[in-house]
Amino acid sequence: MKTKTDPGRSGRLSLLWLQSGGCGGCTLSLLGAEGPDLLTTFEAAGIDVLWHPSLSEASGGETLELLRRLREGEETLDILCLEGSVMRGPNGTGRFHMMSGSDEPMMSWLDALARRANYVVAVGSCAAFGGITAGGSNEVEACGLAYDGRDAGGLLGADFRAASGLPVINIAGCPIHPDWFTEALLQIAAGRLNRDDLDEWERPLAYTMHLVHHGCSRNEFYEFKASAEKLCDQGCMMENLGCKGTQARADCNIRPWNGHGSCIEGGYPCINCTAPKFEEPGHVFTETPKISGIPIGLPTDMPKAWFVALAALSKSATPARLKDNATTAQLKTPPTDRLKRR
């Protein structure tokens, strides 16, 4: 038997994937990974998938026996991935999710297995923070592996460190972009994912170095405060439609989704799904809360007085083209060339 700090069998890494209080959407998103696809990623990273609920052959007793061996430390667990929230309810018993076939709450399994793993990866905002399953008054006591909403702790405690020395790696998003996971996994396999590659919520900076605003095709509308009034309008969705792209941390408009898209490209606002507590924004998701006409949520790092002054100035200078295009479902007025008319 090898010890916990081994890099893995003959340079290979074992991976166990469990699901709890979630929708499985992060796995489904991952199945759409391209360049590399998911199976190629596993191959390239030297990953032995011990078990994945959607992909593996083993079922039932065989799986339980594997989980038991991992929990007892009889077999090395390099990477533990959890998709979905930890279900602590009702009243801390965990009975809202009993691991099938085992008569034990899933949260007990997760707690024991995480303490055996070299790396613990929370896949999606549910596993990281609680996510959508913690919505409403969170009657089910859903939380993340290392956070309960914005509060450090979660299932494993604020001081938890995996055997590698890293805290839980939070690949937050609802769902994740497949590349966020495949790149993190390839980095882990190469021994190149370190603490300084993670942000203040332990999300990979590879994607949270950016704001959703970066690369947004509606940036010019934002600059001139040419705003969309209803969903499907082409203007900036910040002023009226609840868009949090100027605050949300992700590279969704730099790295396209499903080859071509993003929420904003789809005609609807960013709801900041990589952030803890995104599920309870305190307002209707598709409406911007305002005080005396000014949106409450201002762009990240921007002083309010500046924003108000700049917004007033740029609104007074909005080109007619942007005004025309902001409230239509398809761009209709092209830019003009001073040297030649259309």
Binding site: G22, S29, E57, S59, M99, A142, C174, I264, F285, T286
Partner: protein, 482 residues
């Protein structure tokens, strides 16, 4: 008599446990347990109706768009909205992309790997099946994942992303595509069609869609060797293992109908029962909670439905409620959809009126062909100069019902709006029908019936036949309980 507990039951969407009582080498009795409760219906109470479009897709990562469609239809019903033709066509394309991708995922990743199990090692077809379909290692998955990912580019173009889009609204789609994007959509569909015709079917989609009977299907399969396409491979395995005799259910088949366009509903709404189709009486739907970990209150229609979780309920053995249609168990899914729609092949595949593992899988693959053909037509009919969406607000007080079809069957949302907020929200998902527990009359749910008689091979602790039966429903257990 001995008891087998199968769990964690994988290659289904969500967590599942199946308890089997075995007698004389076969399943005598089955209990189906959905062990995860998340509480979506309760978390939405008090929120504004539009927020249902953010919450409900997140019930399920595999039926996400179907949940969006049901929620948007419930809101549209409440506010009297109708999407313009473009909006409906765009929604159909997004919805169809999800359903076709789900059918592919089910066939290649969830269902076929069971035939590559060691329990079949002595069968003459085992080695080639392992090579083609073994979980994580088979060559088929390596071909289907890229093809599926390319198909999902339609989601990037038409819905922003998948899963969990907000593009589907009561009045249509927020994504108004332009001519160049329509050109790209038709190109993506052409590439996908090539994959289907070369790899899955080994023939033209139109020919597969036009098969009229079990005999015609058999003759079609015999035209080429079994290893010439994955559909023929399945048909050969099904023949060898007599899957027509496995997982039989004789119950009304329920479809809420899917894909509306200007010509009406592409796949009809109805109940196929005793060889005839009748209308769905939505008022006859009620959810029984007698065997659920729930405080209960009798069998309530969804508008009056309550969800009151209580793991201490002694009579309960699952979080899944038991929906009944006029007090009867119903089965839903592609086989029901195609039987209700009158497809002659699927009608002919029902043995003495009963569904079985074979007919469920064939219906799904047939539907891939039919839906892909329909998608090409919808893409051609979009006129980018016309609107994709109408606009409106939900009223302060209203009821709304949204009925649609997910890949795995009939999906319904029922919303009650009071003082401008959600006062009640009830969801009945396809697998809630199929994997329901017993009701107050002791009637087992569809899967519980289907499992009875499944054989146990010598030395099996996880009977593979029972696994074929369970997975033949393409269950989505995260939707089931929500």
């Amino acid at each position: 008599m001995s008891r087998i507990i199968m769990g964690p039951f994988n290659r289904v969407e969500g967590d599942l446990e199946v308890k089997l009582d075995i007698e004389a080498g076969a399943v005598a009795k089955a209990h189906v347990v959905s062990p995860l409760y998340r509480g979506f219906e309760r978390m939405m109470i008090g929120k504004r109706p539009a927020d249902a479009l953010v919450f409900t897709p997140r019930i399920c990562g595999i039926c996400s768009v179907s949940q969006s469609v049901a929620a948007a239809k419930a809101l549209a019903d409440a506010q009297g909205a109708t999407p313009p033709p473009n909006g409906q066509l765009a929604i159909n394309l997004v919805h169809a992309t999800e359903n076709v991708a789900d059918h592919l995922t089910h066939f290649y990743l969830f269902f076929m790997p069971d035939f590559a199990r060691p329990t079949y090692a002595a069968e003459p077809w085992s080695a080639s099946t392992v090579e083609r379909f073994a979980a994580l290692k088979g060559e088929a998955a390596r071909e289907v994942l890229p093809a599926r990912a390319q198909l999902m580019h339609l989601m990037g173009l038409l819905a922003g992303k998948w899963p969990h889009t907000l593009s589907i609204q009561p009045g249509g789609s927020t994504r108004a595509v332009v001519n160049s994007e329509l050109a790209r959509i038709s190109g993506i569909l052409a590439g996908f069609l090539r994959f289907l015709e070369k790899t899955l079917f080994g023939d033209k989609l139109e020919r597969v869609a036009a098969l009229k009977s079990a005999d015609e299907l058999g003759a079609w399969a015999a035209e080429k060797p079994a290893d010439s396409s994955d559909f023929r491979r399945f048909l050969a395995l099904s023949d060898a293992l007599r899957l027509t005799q496995l997982g039989r259910v004789n119950a009304p088949l329920l479809s809420f109908g899917a894909y509306e366009d200007e010509d009406g509903v592409r796949f009809a709404r109805g109940v196929f029962d005793q060889g005839a189709v009748r209308e769905v009486d939505a008022a006859a739907i009620a959810e029984d909670t007698s065997h659920v970990w729930d405080l209960g209150g009798g069998a309530l229609p969804p508008f009056e439905g309550r969800t009151q979780p209580d793991p201490e309920q002694k009579s309960g053995y699952t979080w899944c409620k038991a929906p009944r249609l006029g007090g009867r168990v119903a089965e839903t899914g592609a086989v029901a959809r195609q039987a209700v729609d009158g497809h002659p092949l699927v009608r002919d595949l029902l043995t003495d009126g009963a569904t079985n593992v074979h007919s469920r899988v064939v219906a799904r693959l047939l539907e891939i062909a039919r839906v892909t053909i329909a998608m090409e037509g919808w893409a051609r009919r979009i006129n980018p100069k016309e609107p994709f969406r109408t606009h409106g607000q939900p009223p302060k007080e209203a009821l709304g019902m949204g009925l649609t079809e997910a890949a795995r069957g009939a999906l319904g949302h029922w919303i009650k709006i009071e003082r401008g907020k959600i006062a009640n929200y009830q969801i009945i998902a396809p697998t809630t029908w199929n994997f329901s527990p017993r009701d107050a009359d002791g009637q087992p749910g569809a899967l519980e019936q289907a499992l009875v008689g499944a054989p146990v091979r010598a030395g099996e602790t996880e009977p593979v036949a029972a696994q074929h039966v369970v997975r033949s429903f393409d269950p989505c257990v995260v939707c089931t309980v929500h």
